[in-house]
Amino acid sequence: MQMTPVLEVKNVDFSYPDGTRALQSLSLGFARARRTVLLGRNGAGKSTLFALLNGLERPGRGEVCFDGVPVAYDRGSLRQLRRRVGVVFQDPDSQLFSASIREDVSFGPMNLNLSREEVGLRVEAALAAVNLTALAERPTHALSFGEKKRACIAGVLAMEPEVLILDEPNAGLDPPMTAELLSLLDTLHRRRVTVILATHDVDFAFAWADDICVLQEGALAFHGVADDYEAVGRSFPGLGLERPWVHEVFEELQRKGNIAGDRPPRSRAELLARLR
């Protein structure tokens, strides 16, 4: 028997007031404590899905479930949902409201009605997790884009959600910062936090994720485990998506008999290790 997904949308339709149909009969579940990457072109409905998962938007039809229970939209239920599901949006300047990083990070936990001591501890822990402790005294506008992005992540981490959703977290980050972000996400994963992440970077997705979902025009076009490389090979070209380069190189090497095993490596490092 399959475990109940921690978050699930069932048969969800969503249209914006201007008539744009963003999601169409979308059904998709996210398993607890797994790393899921959501792929899809701009406008495929990724951000809309995230807004639904956090209760920021209400589906026109269908329902959103947390732990198998449909989300209600009264104040108390929404507060419960948002305590357990945290979303980091794309643009940091649209999320940081305060000129002080520390104040901004304390905003979420303060809304949880925790004691001041507890809020203080959580803020410091979240700042340390994203490596911002040393910069927390500086005003928000004096930080770089990557630092602001990390501040946004800290603001959500401080609420200690069970599910962390990140909308294109690596957009605009340089490679070392992306690596740092990845190690942070892996730490959270080890603590059994469910991480859902949207990106355009297919190689990154396959190097990191357990599960891969592809959205296309508001519908689910692919949902599988990242290791199922044959299914990816069957589906991705038809969806107009590039396959990860390690998969293609693996196939070529396999054809020539230069690599052992029947499963492609996940990353450059693994590929090189297997070639040695």
Binding site: A51, G86, S94, G108, P139
Partner: protein, 255 residues
Amino acid sequence: MLFESYAYSNRWRLLHPVEKGLLSGFALIAALVAGSKLAALTVFFCLAALTICGAGIPLRVYLRLLLIPAGFLLAGVASLAISFGGGDIPLGTLPGFDLSVFLSQTGLEQATLVLARSLGAVAALYFLALTTPMTEIIGLLRRLRVPTLLLELMVLAYRQIFVLLQIASEMRVAQASRLGYATPGNSCRSLAALAANLYLRVHNRSRLLHRALVGRGYEDELRWLEPEYAYSSRNLFLITVAGCGFLTLALLLPV
């Protein structure tokens, strides 16, 4: 932006904001009620000295910042000193009008007093602005029981000023790189487009910000953890002495 960077980097950054606010408040009141030029100027020089020698703001920077209100001050003071139609010292007549311009003795007295008071008040406010970041000044106002709505507006407005400036400067650069400001005509059109676009962008941003705040549990009040500072009884004592000194001077010194 100059205020900003010094507010975060001056030597007195970590002093309790209430202490700094108290001193600034005492000095401000003393400057505004000062009956004599001497008292007001004392406040000005004391606070300027504290800002420069104590908090370590470079003299040149301080003088440059004083130039900002200088224009307003001189214009205001000139209008007090000059009178039309009658006065003690004639300055001449306005060509084309049948009006004589005079400098009046009382007007001059009044003008110099106003100038001295304004300088004292400016020094008091500059002391606070140059030693205390805005977020802490807002924390200070919260202690003074300023209504929450007003404080939230201040927090949001203050942050958004920088966002707005950044968007505007990025848009301007993008326009300039496509010759948007090459001719006066282009400049007019570009500036109009920038203003219209800026409005839309800011509107969109505020929508996104609201959504992000709601996602973090915002209901109807912005709440955050205030940083904690230690009071220094020595400082409080010195500030009270200085404050009482200023007020005594202001009230007792003969005109």
